[in-house]
């Protein structure tokens, strides 16, 4: 355990020069492009697509939990809403995927803020219970509103997204698509983390009395935390819908929320690398351990308890801002 800790700390301390960064970036792009050819196995690529998708979802949930400090157990609601709104717009109005996704992001994010509004005064456990309940209500809505959502049977044969006349089709294309999204998510989170806005949100999270004393409207940051996190989840829901080609309420059960929370907690609250690590581990491991799939929820539970006891800050804890990033970025 301490060996791993040491290793992670060592990696954290590595600082690359501009040239090294460029080389690393090119190598990374080359690796991503070459990856589907190298493995050339549909199943492995599928697992990696899921890993990357959950990494994005974990980042979006971590923004709500780790940055804005609100313990939400209903993330699946935003994820599912994104999937359904995009799908319905595409199927009923023949709308282009990207336009539909945009609308679905705005819709979900507005909804997330409205959901957050009455819970602003609640803390910790209460908020967790309410959001958990809301996820269930949403799933019941999907199941029972047969006219709108086609009920438990779900919506089959969702068309592939089309961009500049080219349809994104097949595992390989989706692999590149999700990788672009993942890179965009990471870049977005990094910008957010070092911006005045992100720092303000962290301040509100850590000490709301100190935050108001320096002029921050704590409600605004809590609302926007839900709004942005919810919008990001909606984007992932839209991706999921077109990637799977079908959606049904069972994909958006509360267990899915629990899974995402586990990824956040295991990886590290408020940590970008932690989110990715947590998502990859908890997506890939169960695939490797197919035989034990019945015990998956039990394993999640046990894992969470173990983490809470031995390493409550997660595997890759929020690098408690070791450097003055704001200043470094300003002077570069």
């Amino acid at each position: 355990m301490s060996k791993i800790k040491e290793l992670i700390n060592k990696i954290k301390k590595i600082r690359l020069s501009k040239m090294q960064k460029l080389v690393a970036l090119i190598a990374l792009i080359a690796l991503i492009v070459a990856f589907p050819y190298m493995v050339n196995d549909k199943y492995t690529i599928h697992v990696f697509i899921l890993c990357a998708m959950y990494a994005c979802l974990t980042l979006s949930l971590n923004l709500i939990i780790g940055w804005s400090g609100q313990f939400s157990l209903g993330h699946v609601c935003f994820y599912g809403m994104g999937a359904y709104v995009t799908t319905l717009l595409m199927m009923n109005f023949g709308m282009n995927f990207f336009l539909a996704t945009l609308i679905s992001i705005v819709f979900t994010s507005t909804f997330a803020m409205l959901l957050c509004l009455p819970t602003l005064k609640l803390r910790g456990d209460y908020l967790a219970v309410i959001t958990l309940g809301f996820g269930e209500v949403f799933r019941l809505f999907l199941t029972n509103e047969v006219d709108l959502t086609k009920g438990p049977a779900g919506i089959p044969s969702i068309p592939d997204p089309v961009i500049f006349g080219y349809a994104i089709k097949g595992k390989q294309a989706y692999f590149y698509f999700i990788m672009i999204l993942l890179v965009a998510f990471i870049a977005f989170m990094k910008k957010f983390n070092n911006s005045g806005f992100g720092m303000a949100m962290m301040t509100v999270n850590e000490d709301d009395i100190a935050a108001t004393a320096i002029g921050l409207n704590t409600k605004k940051y809590k609302l926007l935390g839900f709004g942005i996190g919810g919008g990001m989840a909606a984007l992932m829901g839209s991706f999921y819908a077109v990637y799977m080609g079908m959606i049904s309420p069972t994909s958006f059960a509360y267990a899915e929320s629990i899974k995402m929370v586990s990824m956040v907690v295991l990886g590290g609250m408020g940590s970008i690398p932690g989110s990715i690590l947590g998502a990859f581990l908890l997506t890939a491991l169960p695939e490797l351990l197919r035989a034990f799939s019945e015990y998956r929820m039990v394993l999640y539970g046990a894992l969470m308890v173990v983490m809470m006891i031995f390493r409550p800050e997660g595997m890759w804890s929020r690098a408690s801002r070791l450097k003055n990033e704001y200043k470094i970025k300003a002077e570069k």
Binding site: F197, A210, A213, I214, R318, Y326, A330
Partner: protein
């Protein structure tokens, strides 16, 4: 005409306890006013009323001739009231410099859209923010520690950092809650210099809560004494020292002693 702060019958009750009881207070621009009184007298609670952490049960508060009684806490900060806390409230996960930066209006009003799509403009603003915040750290004597984690500083320095953070909000009025607590005599002298700089050079009015009588008598233009939530005396330092009600209040609590020994 040049009052910056005024309370009229400011009162707050917590259940059966009246923590602040009909306090009238007037502070002029540029004046160093001190608030003293035995433990539990209601000094911090009065600060919380002024800054909006609590709302008055009755009475009114005026800042710069505006009635701010019902105004939200963060709006009062934007209007020009800054404070420090008796029980230090710094952000643990941030560095010394960042603790000041987060309070700077140009940082916490930064548009996230600008940060994403207008990097040049954002960078320019940030450079200015960093420059100004480093200047504030210089004033409180912490500029060579800007890269350290805020909570790794010794107690006295954390209090100075809270002052710098308060200044970063660009206030007209700065409320200091026991700024000298936990400082040795040398640090208290430095603190006096810092407060003088804030009032004389930066032209910011300061209201201080402090227990150290020598410090209070040395720095205050005027003193207000609270006991059991009520104002029991008000006047120049030498008047307060001789005031029998004040001596009684302190003797009752066994607290009025020269803190040098």
């Amino acid at each position: 005409m040049n009052e910056i702060l005024e309370t009229k019958g400011a009162t707050i009750r917590f259940g059966g306890l009246t923590a602040v009881d009909g306090v009238d207070l007037v502070q002029k621009k540029g004046e160093i006013l001190s608030l003293i009184g035995p433990n539990g007298a209601g000094k911090t609670t009065l600060f919380n009323l002024l800054t909006g952490v609590y709302k008055c049960t009755s009475g009114n508060i005026f800042f710069d001739h505006k009635n701010i009684t019902e105004m939200k806490a963060h709006e009062r900060t934007k209007l020009g009231i800054a404070r420090t806390f008796q029980n230090i409230r710094l952000i643990r996960s941030m560095t010394v410099l960042e603790n000041v930066i987060i309070a700077h209006p140009d940082c916490n009003e930064e548009k996230f859209m600008d940060a994403l799509f207008r990097p040049k403009k954002t960078k320019e603003i940030r450079r200015k923010v960093v420059e100004e915040c480093e200047a504030l750290l210089e004033i409180v004597g912490l500029c060579d520690m800007e890269d350290e984690m805020a909570t790794s500083l010794p107690y006295g320095k954390q209090r100075l950092l809270e002052i710098a953070r308060g200044l970063a909000t660009k206030p007209m009025l700065l409320l200091l809650d026991e700024p000298g607590a936990g400082m040795n005599n040398f640090e208290k002298e430095e603190l006096t210099t810092v407060i003088r700089h804030i009032t004389d050079v930066m032209k910011i009015t300061v209201l201080i809560i402090e227990h150290d009588m020598k410090f209070v008598m040395g720095i205050s233009d005027r003193i207000i004494v609270l006991d059991h939530g009520q104002k029991i005396a008000e006047g120049l330092p030498e008047e307060i020292q001789k005031n029998s009600r004040v001596i009684e209040a302190y003797l009752g609590s066994g607290e009025f002693k020269d803190e040098e020994e």
